[in-house]
C-alpha cells in the first residue's frame, strides 16, 4: 500500500481546490460542485485509513457521506431551479434578497 | 337555392330538394330537408310557393332546362337535356324573400345560375348578413370564401362565400361587390374557418378584411409584392426583387 501520507496529501489538495472553488466562483452550481469535491476529499481519507487499520467502518462513514452528498445535491439543485425561475440568474452574489 | 345534388343526376327526381339518399346530418334533429322553407329547390319554383318538394314545378318562370324525367333509378340514358344554354336568371323564392325582407336594399340581386342560388349583397353589410345566415337560416358551414377579379368593373372584385346548411341540405352563394381599396368586414367572428380563407384572398387579391385577427399572407412570403390572382398580374410575372434577395437568383427568374 502507498504510504498513508500520500493519501492525506491528495485529500488535502482536493480539499483546497474545493475551497478555492467555493470562495472564488460566482456560479452557484459550480459552488455546489466544489462542495462535492470537498466531500470527496474526506472520503479518500476515510477509506485510506479504513484500509490502513483493516476495518470497514471507515467505508461505512464514507457511504453516509455519499448519502449526505446526494441529499445536499438534491435540495441545493432544487433551490437553484426555484431561484432561476424567479430571478433568471445562477450567480451567488445576485442572490441578495431573503425572499422573492 | 338549388341543391347541387339534383342536377347532376337527371334521372333522379330533380326537384327533390333532398336528394334521394340524403340522410340529414344525423346530428341535426331539424334536418327535415323537405320542409318548404326557402329551400325550394332551385328550380323554378320561384314564385310563390314553397313548392312541394318532389313535384316538378310546372310553371317554370325562369327557363330552366330541365324538367327532370321520371325518377328512374338506374341511370338510363340521360333524358334529352334541354340544350338551352344554362345562364343566370333572376331568382325569387322564399329564401330570397326572407333575406330581402330582412335586409331590404342590401340584397342587391338574387340569381339562379345552373340551379345554384346566388345572392348579391352589399359588401358593407356582409357581416350582418353572414350572422343572419348562420343563426337564422342555419347555414352553418362556410364551405369556401374566395374572390373573382373583374378589372374593368367599377367595383372590381366579387367576394364569394359558399355556404351550406346541414339541416336543409342546401347551398347558397353570397356575393359581394368590392372596390379596389375598399375594406370588407371580416366574417371570422361568424365562421372561424374564414381566418385562413380571408388570408388567402388577401394574399391573392389584396382585399383587406377589417376586424381580421391576423391578416397576413397565407401562401406567399410575407414581403412579397403584388397579388397574383388579379387579372393584371401576368402569369409570368413575379416579385423579382424578392426572388433576388431571398433565393439568390440573379436574374430574378
Amino acid at each position: 500500500m502507498v504510504p498513508i501520507g500520500h493519501y492525506i496529501f491528495l485529500s488535502v489538495a482536493l480539499l483546497a481546490i474545493g475551497i478555492v472553488g467555493v470562495v472564488t466562483r460566482r456560479n452557484v452550481i459550480i459552488i455546489l460542485m466544489s462542495i462535492e469535491l470537498i466531500l470527496n476529499a474526506v472520503n479518500i481519507n476515510l477509506v485510506a485509513f479504513s484500509r490502513l487499520v483493516g476495518s470497514v467502518e471507515g467505508q461505512i462513514f464514507a457511504i453516509f457521506i455519499i448519502t449526505d452528498a446526494a441529499a445536499e445535491a438534491a435540495v441545493g439543485l432544487g433551490i437553484i431551479i426555484a431561484f432561476f425561475r424567479n430571478r433568471e440568474t445562477v450567480l451567488a452574489d445576485e442572490m441578495d434578497i431573503l425572499k422573492w | 337555392m338549388t341543391n347541387d345534388s339534383e342536377e347532376k343526376q337527371p334521372p333522379r327526381p330533380a326537384e327533390a330538394e333532398k336528394p334521394a339518399g340524403t340522410p340529414a346530418p344525423s346530428a341535426s334533429p331539424s334536418a327535415s330537408g323537405g320542409t318548404p322553407s326557402g329551400e325550394t329547390p332551385g328550380k323554378p319554383a320561384a314564385p310563390s310557393a314553397p313548392v312541394a318538394a318532389a313535384k316538378p314545378p310546372a310553371a317554370i318562370t325562369p327557363p330552366k332546362p330541365a324538367a327532370p324525367a321520371a325518377p328512374a333509378k338506374p341511370p338510363g340514358p340521360p333524358p334529352p337535356p334541354k340544350e338551352a344554354p344554362p345562364k343566370p336568371a333572376p331568382l325569387d323564392n322564399d329564401l330570397v324573400k326572407r333575406y330581402k325582407a330582412r335586409f331590404g336594399g342590401a340584397v342587391v340581386e338574387a340569381l339562379l345560375d345552373r340551379k345554384q342560388a346566388i345572392l348579391v349583397i352589399a359588401a358593407d353589410r356582409l357581416l350582418e348578413i353572414a350572422r343572419y345566415s348562420r343563426d337564422e337560416e342555419h347555414f352553418d358551414l362556410l364551405v369556401d370564401l374566395t374572390a373573382v377579379d373583374w378589372p374593368k368593373r367599377e367595383k372590381r372584385f366579387d367576394l364569394v362565400l359558399n355556404l351550406y346548411s346541414f339541416s336543409k341540405n342546401e347551398r347558397v352563394r353570397l356575393k359581394a361587390l368590392v372596390a379596389e381599396n375598399e375594406p370588407v368586414p371580416s366574417v371570422e367572428s361568424v365562421w372561424p374557418t374564414a381566418n385562413w380563407l380571408e388570408r388567402e384572398v388577401y394574399d391573392m387579391f389584396g382585399i383587406v378584411f377589417e376586424g381580421h385577427s391576423n391578416l397576413k399572407r397565407l401562401l406567399l412570403p410575407e414581403e412579397w409584392q403584388g397579388h397574383p390572382l388579379r387579372k393584371d398580374y401576368d402569369i409570368l410575372q413575379q416579385d423579382e426583387a424578392w426572388v433576388r434577395e431571398n433565393l439568390g437568383i440573379e436574374s430574378g427568374q
Binding site: - | 346530428a27 341535426s28 334533429p29 331539424s30 342555419h138 346541414f166 339541416s167 336543409k168
Partner: protein
C-alpha cells in the same frame, strides 16, 4: 501470467463486437422485413450477408461533420463515452463457465454501475450538438434511463435474493444448484426487467429519445459518419449487455435446459444438429445464388457452420477424461449463453415491429406508477416466499408461488387504478359535448 487470458478475451470481444453488432442489425432488418412481407437487404452478398460490412465501410468513409457552434471537445468525446461504458460492462459477464474476462465478487453491481455511466455519452452528445432537438432528445433519454434503471435494479434485487450473491458466476451456479431458472421462481421480476431493459436501451416502443417522427434522431441528430456509428455500436452493445444480464439472472446463464437431469443428456446433441441444419440450408441455397462470388460466400458460410458443428460435437465424441471432453462445458455453455442472448434480442425486435410508440408522459407514468411499485412489491413477495421457505421450512415451491401471487395481485391493482389517471389533454378540462344541430 494471470493477465494473459483475460486480456486475450477482452481483445476478442472488442474486435468482434462491431461485427456482431453489425450482424445484429442485419438480422433485425431481415426479421423486420419478414414481418413486413418484404425481403430486406438482398443486394450485398447472398441474402444481404455482406451488408453490415458495406455499411461499416460506408460509415467510416463518410465525412465527419461537426456543427459550427458545437462544443467540439465534448462533441468529439461523447460517443466514446457511450461505447466505452457499454464495452466495459461486458467484462464481468460469464459467457460460458470458462469464458469471462473478470470475475468480480460484485460483478452484477459492476455491470449496472458502468452501464449507468453510458448516460453521460447521451446527455453530453445531445448538449454539445447545440441543437434543440438533440438537447430535448438527450434530456428525454436521460430521464428515461434514470427512471427505468430504478425498476430494473429492483427487479434484479429480486433475483439476487434468490441467488444470494452478486457474482455473475455465482448466480448461474445458484440456478444450477436449485435446478430452477429464476424466471420460474420470479416471473414477475423477469417481466419487469424485460420491460425496463427495453426502455433502458431506448428501443421501441420506448424509443422516445430518437422518436424520429418527433425529434428527428434525438441526441444523435447532429452526428454523422463514424461518430454516429459509435453511438449505434453503443446502442447494440447495450442490448447485448441487458440481454446477457437477463440471461444470467433469469434464464440460467450458460446452462442447458434441464442441465442436471441426466436422462435428458441427449439435448446436448441439439446445438451441433442445429448448426448442421443451418449449414445444410446454406449449401442448398448456394448454387441458387446469381453470382459466382455469392455462391462462394454462401458456401463459405455453410462451411463455417459445419466447423462450428464439429467444434460442438468434438467434446462429445472425444473419449472421456481427455482434454477435449473436459472442454465440453465451456463450448456448450457458450453456445447456450449466446443462444439465449439471441432469443432475448429477438423478443426485442419482435416488440419493436409490433408496437406503436409510447408518448413520453405515458412512458414516465408506466415507469414510475406501475413498474417501480410493482418491482418493490416483487422484492417483498420474493422475500416473503424465501422467509417462509428458510425460516419456517415451508417447501420451496408453494412459498415462492405465494410470493408470486401476492405480486400479481398488487400488479392487477396497480393496473386497475392506473387507468383512472390518464388525462389526455394536460391540464385542461374537456369541453362538454353538445349535440350538433343546425
Amino acid at each position: 501470467m494471470p493477465y494473459v487470458l483475460p486480456v486475450l478475451f477482452a481483445l476478442v470481444i472488442v474486435a468482434l463486437l462491431p461485427l456482431v453488432a453489425g450482424y445484429i442489425v442485419l438480422v433485425e432488418r431481415k426479421v423486420m422485413a419478414d414481418m413486413q412481407v418484404r425481403l430486406g437487404p438482398m443486394r450485398v452478398g447472398p441474402h444481404g450477408l455482406l451488408q453490415p460490412i458495406a455499411d461499416a465501410v460506408k460509415l467510416l468513409l463518410k465525412e465527419d461533420i461537426i456543427p459550427e457552434s458545437a462544443d467540439r471537445l465534448v462533441f468529439w468525446g461523447a460517443p466514446l463515452i457511450s461505447v466505452t461504458t457499454a464495452m466495459v460492462a461486458l467484462a464481468a459477464l460469464p459467457i460460458g463457465p470458462f469464458f469471462q474476462i473478470a470475475e468480480l465478487n460484485i460483478g452484477l453491481l459492476f455491470i449496472l454501475g458502468v452501464s449507468s455511466l453510458g448516460i453521460f455519452g447521451i446527455v453530453l452528445g445531445g448538449w454539445a450538438s447545440n441543437s434543440h432537438y438533440s438537447l430535448l432528445g438527450a434530456l428525454r433519454s436521460a430521464a428515461q434511463l434514470v427512471s427505468y434503471e430504478t425498476s430494473a435494479g429492483m427487479a434484479i434485487v429480486g433475483a439476487l435474493l434468490l441467488a444470494g450473491t452478486l457474482s455473475t458466476r455465482g448466480i448461474v451456479q445458484a440456478q444450477a444448484q436449485t435446478e430452477v431458472w429464476f424466471i420460474f421462481a420470479a416471473p414477475v421480476g423477469f417481466f419487469i426487467y424485460l420491460v425496463a431493459s427495453i426502455a433502458e436501451t431506448n428501443r421501441a416502443p420506448f424509443d422516445m429519445p430518437e422518436a424520429e417522427s418527433e425529434l428527428v434522431a434525438g441526441y444523435m441528430t447532429e452526428y454523422s459518419g463514424f461518430r454516429w456509428a459509435l453511438y449505434f455500436l453503443a446502442e447494440y452493445t447495450n442490448m447485448i449487455v441487458v440481454a446477457s444480464i437477463a440471461t444470467t439472472l433469469f434464464l440460467g446463464g450458460w446452462l442447458r435446459p434441464f442441465a442436471s437431469t441426466s436422462y435428458l443428456d441427449f439435448l446436448d446433441w441439439l446445438p451441433p444438429l442445429l448448426m448442421a441444419g443451418v449449414a445444410g440450408y446454406c449449401f442448398w441455397r448456394a448454387p441458387k445464388q446469381p453470382v459466382a462470388v455469392q455462391k462462394m460466400f454462401m458456401a463459405a458460410v455453410g462451411l463455417l457452420c459445419i466447423v462450428l458443428a464439429l467444434v460442438l460435437i468434438m467434446p462429445m465424441a472425444a473419449p472421456r477424461d481427455s482434454f477435449l471432453a473436459s472442454s465440453k462445458a465451456g463450448i456448450h455453455g457458450a453456445f447456450w449463453f449466446l443462444f439465449k442472448v439471441g432469443a432475448y434480442i429477438y423478443v426485442f425486435m419482435w416488440l419493436r415491429f409490433t408496437f406503436p410508440r409510447y408518448r413520453f408522459d405515458q412512458l414516465m407514468r408506466l415507469g414510475w406508477q406501475f413498474l417501480v411499485p410493482l418491482s418493490i412489491v416483487n422484492v417483498m413477495g420474493i422475500g416473503v416466499g424465501l422467509a417462509l421457505h428458510r425460516q419456517l421450512n415451508w417447501p420451496a415451491a408453494p412459498a415462492l408461488i405465494l410470493g408470486i401471487v401476492l405480486t400479481l395481485v398488487a400488479g392487477a391493482y396497480l393496473l386497475a387504478t392506473g387507468e383512472k389517471h390518464e388525462h389526455p389533454r394536460v391540464g385542461e378540462e374537456e369541453e362538454e359535448e353538445t349535440p350538433v344541430n343546425a
